[in-house]
Amino acid sequence: SDKASGGDEKPEKITLDYAYYSPTSLVLKKFGWAEKELKKDGVEVKWVQSLGSNKALEFLNSSSVDFGSTAGAAAFIAKSKGAPIESVYIYSQPEWTALVTKDKKIKSVKDLKGKKIAATIGTDPYIFLLRALKEEGLSSKDVKIVNLQHQDGANALLSGEVDAWAGLDPHMAKVELESDGKFLYRNPDFNTYGTLNVRSEFAKDHPEYVKKVIALYEKARQWTLEHPDEAAKLLSEEAGLSLEVAKKELERNNFEQPVPGDEQREAISSAGEVLKAEKVISPDTDIDKVVNELINPSFAEKAVK
């Protein structure tokens, strides 16, 4: 079975995920540091690719992975529905989403009223869209949100099917570079961070190893900070992106703040409010409680020097 093993103190095997939206995970996987480090303890390392936050969460839920990379808001929604996970580390503060349009007449979020906007329900771009609308005093009822997968949304925007698109990198970078799509609205603070989540059970059974994994991620983060060009090249190779797209994507990632804390709590709570208003999470959710249970900085605080 592929269930990652529990056990007493030392796990037999640790299953990590890697994802194109988490550049540090690619670095870590590429250099094989985890394998090297954990082999000393006789712990096996297995890598599984996550194609998106929802997949990472499915894997976490089914104990198929021990660590999974997701958007903060995605982890929050899952946690609010009872998923036993904790966000223990911030792999980056990405500005991976923004509102994109091709229509020259649409100049601000206000102009979106009554327009068709493509977004994938439940994902960070969707939350971003809702928050941008809310800021202007609009709600999802004032526009027509069309549920499309990210890449389909990009296509729909380019072929004029929709007026705007809540984009996601790397699709967004590609649209920006290769066609006449332009940013309508961007706001890094409305992105909910990229969080590394661990299964609560694993954290309880093997706290030492959570720290070890965080330390490994730290090593990858340092390397990425020191070698931005090589990191871009690595990302472009691994994810099959062109170098410019990869560079663009990396530029929009801030790797400075690895320890989860109040900033994240705040960002996720604000996202939570919007989600509550839109009934994505149940109206009786205690947002603060969920956020506090989700964000667990204790491991990172110890692991990050």
Partner: protein
């Protein structure tokens, strides 16, 4: 060894009366029997959920799912999801079946059409529904047409395959009867081949309808804001297992319901077959 008297089989005529309407009785009984296993499954699932074998955030109890469904029924959203999906499946089914009948008849009957078209169809047949999504958006946008056509594509292939097989398996002897009456090719197809291929055709449309239902999710990835497929994807994206399971249940129920209609048609249409089931 059997004694002499035992060798006699005897049936009094009263027994015959019992046999008069066995079909009706059997059918009623049949539909009840069909509920046994689903019920057992549901009940053990409920018990397992209550006992905590399944974690609620992964697989909620049937009662929770039913509560979700009745909640949606109460606020009316359930009906609009069901209605729009039924509508799409129905229209897609009709379009897919109709084109499969036309193209399948050509391919089944005219060798040239088979040589020209069959390979192409067989190649297209294994392209997954998700792969069509971006292309369909490109070609037809994100309105109803693309959704309906995608469902029609799903329906098309099994129907096509079964109709071609049905036609190519038609007994030469019967076709010759038509030739004797100097039927035109069209008449032969319409009056001999299609009726002969009917059993295979009906299996095809039943199979096709199933694939049609499966294609709903991909179809409703193309900019839907309502529908069972939308509900499923939304549930998955918002980590709402109750919604996911509810939509799966609805797929199962509607799929079974629509199939029952076709099965009824099958029984009616094939009553002439000399099979064990049709024995008088």
């Amino acid at each position: 060894m059997a004694s002499k008297t035992e060798l006699w089989q005897s049936r009094a005529s009263e027994k015959k009366k019992e046999l008069l309407r066995p079909l009706l009785k059997e059918r009623l009984q049949g539909s009840w029997l069909g509920l046994i296993i689903p019920m057992i499954l549901l009940i053990s699932w409920e018990i397992a959920s209550v006992r905590g074998v399944f974690e609620a955030h992964l697989l909620p109890a049937p009662t929770v799912v039913l509560a979700k469904i009745s909640e949606m029924a109460a606020d009316g959203s359930l009906w609009s999801h069901i209605w729009i999906t039924l509508y799409r499946v129905f229209i897609g089914f009709v379009i897919g079946t109709a084109s499969a009948v036309v193209i399948g008849s050509f391919v089944g009957y005219w060798k040239l059409a088979e040589n020209l078209l069959d390979s192409l169809v067989q190649a297209f047949r294994s392209i997954p529904s998700l792969a069509w999504v971006p292309l369909f958006i490109l070609w037809m946008g994100i309105g109803e047409p693309s959704k309906i056509v995608l469902i029609a594509v799903g329906v098309f292939f099994p129907v096509y395959l079964n109709i071609v097989a049905g036609i190519q398996g038609v007994d030469r002897k019967l076709i010759e009867v038509g030739k004797i009456y100097q039927f035109s090719s069209l008449q032969i197809v319409r009056r001999i081949i299609l009726p002969s291929a009917l059993p295979s055709f009906i299996t095809g449309i039943r199979s096709g309808l199933g694939v049609g239902w499966m294609f709903v999710v991909a179809a409703e990835l193309m900019g839907a804001s309502e529908g069972l497929g939308y509900l499923l994807v939304e549930g998955q994206n918002t980590y709402a297992p109750d919604v996911v399971i509810a939509s799966i249940l609805l797929f199962a129920l509607l799929g079974k319901g629509s199939d029952s209609v076709l099965k009824l048609v099958e029984t009616k249409a094939l009553h002439y077959q000399d099979t064990l089931a049709n024995q008088g």
